[in-house]
Point group: C2
């Protein structure tokens, strides 16, 4: 039995997120089904670094699974890819020790959130970036985000319907960059993320960027530890799970 | 009655091209249907600068139609947009003289063709760029394309199932540019294009770019005036109708 660590990308547009749900097209279901075919119908369970919601994309999701098959590392990606739909892509397959765990061994994750702004929508990015009709002040947004770098109780930026008790997380990086006149990208890197955390932080930062809220309010919102203080949850289709970091492998 | 010249963009992925066909989702059908709703069910015919095939995109398709409605220019785009699906976008609406014709008055058109190259496919561009697994020599491709700038009989670059008799066209520009390590774009501007002309020229240029064919062969192919001499027709999803030029309006 060999454990495999596999990096995948997917276009979340036509998926009801990562996790298997009855009668829904999900990424996990497609991968389970591909692994089943490769293993002649034998079920192989796959574990991801974490779930992604409907419409959310991945550039570097990490999964693991165990296989009795003697397939060389450089051929696993092609073998899997051959059984996957064209909105899932295998980027790399690496053999790892049996103790490796895609979720529990992750030491950091990076998410990116893409936003287009201005009067004109762009038909080609409708599934790949959130559109805001106003211009965005990225300096104001960056000042607001600076208040979130460090270790805090992020309860204000967590969807209220969650079971997680400990809401303390560390953000190593919270950055916004202008890509072009009508595009910005948010980059978040941290040791863990609460449910909807990136989307709520982004929604709040966008309210600062359009001038609806002041930069300094970010501190009040953060310290309130109450979801009702923060802004809207930005939509899923602007969000990308960009990378997952591990200690050794 | 006012004639309107309207610039539209569309993501061709989920359309069976421009032209109305029974039981197919086409761009023309969606626009007819939107105009019908705005005009309380009265049919309004729409004419485009030309057809686009299934999967082909438009950044600047031009259409015209006549309307008895007194809607100001700055509100036509919103009025139409409100009745259109989100893969069609109205960019600009301009009132024009009744004699204006989107197809017959076009003096030039620009098409662009996007190609990604290299070992790694990109899941996010699968509908928006053609993927070639080899590296591309853009200098060789440019030298080949240089032989096509001017006025020629382009029969070699025209799909054989066409009724057009006169296959002489003028290309003002035939250019390839590297966008990044794994992306190139072809730009074609001419006074008219034969059926599949851009896709056949691109397919032939790509054969030069990968080294399968020599630069100089482009002259032989051009002068043969025979479709069988040229390369493959590149797939539709890399192609964009980029702009249409008119004399005055």
């Amino acid at each position: 039995m060999q454990r495999w660590k596999v990096k995948i990308a997917y276009d979340g547009t036509e998926f009801s997120g990562w996790q298997v749900q009855p009668e829904k097209r999900t990424v996990q279901r497609e991968i389970n089904s591909a692994l089943g075919r490769i293993h002649q119908g034998q079920q192989v369970n796959v574990t991801a670094s974490g779930r992604t919601d409907a419409g959310v994309h991945a550039k570097g999701q990490i999964i693991h699974f165990d296989s009795p098959l003697q397939i060389p590392a450089d051929r696993w990606s092609k073998a899997l890819g051959a059984h996957l739909p064209d909105d899932i892509q295998i980027i790399e397959s690496v053999p790892v020790p049996a103790g490796f765990h895609a979720r529990f061994d992750a030491v950091a994750k990076e998410y990116r959130y893409f936003v287009r702004c201005g009067q004109e929508r762009d038909v080609f990015s409708r599934h790949y970036a959130h559109h805001v009709y106003k211009q965005l002040d990225e300096r104001a947004m960056q000042s607001a985000l600076d208040h979130l770098v460090g270790t805090f109780d992020f309860s204000s930026f967590c969807a209220s319907n969650t079971n997680v008790v400990d809401k303390v997380r560390t953000l190593f990086e919270a950055r916004v960059e202008r890509i072009s006149d009508d595009q910005v990208v948010f980059v978040f890197r941290g040791n863990g993320f609460l449910y909807n955390m990136v989307r709520i932080i982004t929604g709040t930062a966008l309210a600062v960027g359009t001038g609806e809220r002041d930069t300094g309010e970010m501190v009040t919102i953060r310290d309130a530890r109450d979801r009702r203080f923060a802004g809207k949850t930005a939509p899923g289709h602007g969000l990308y799970l960009w990378d997952v970091y591990y200690k050794d492998v």
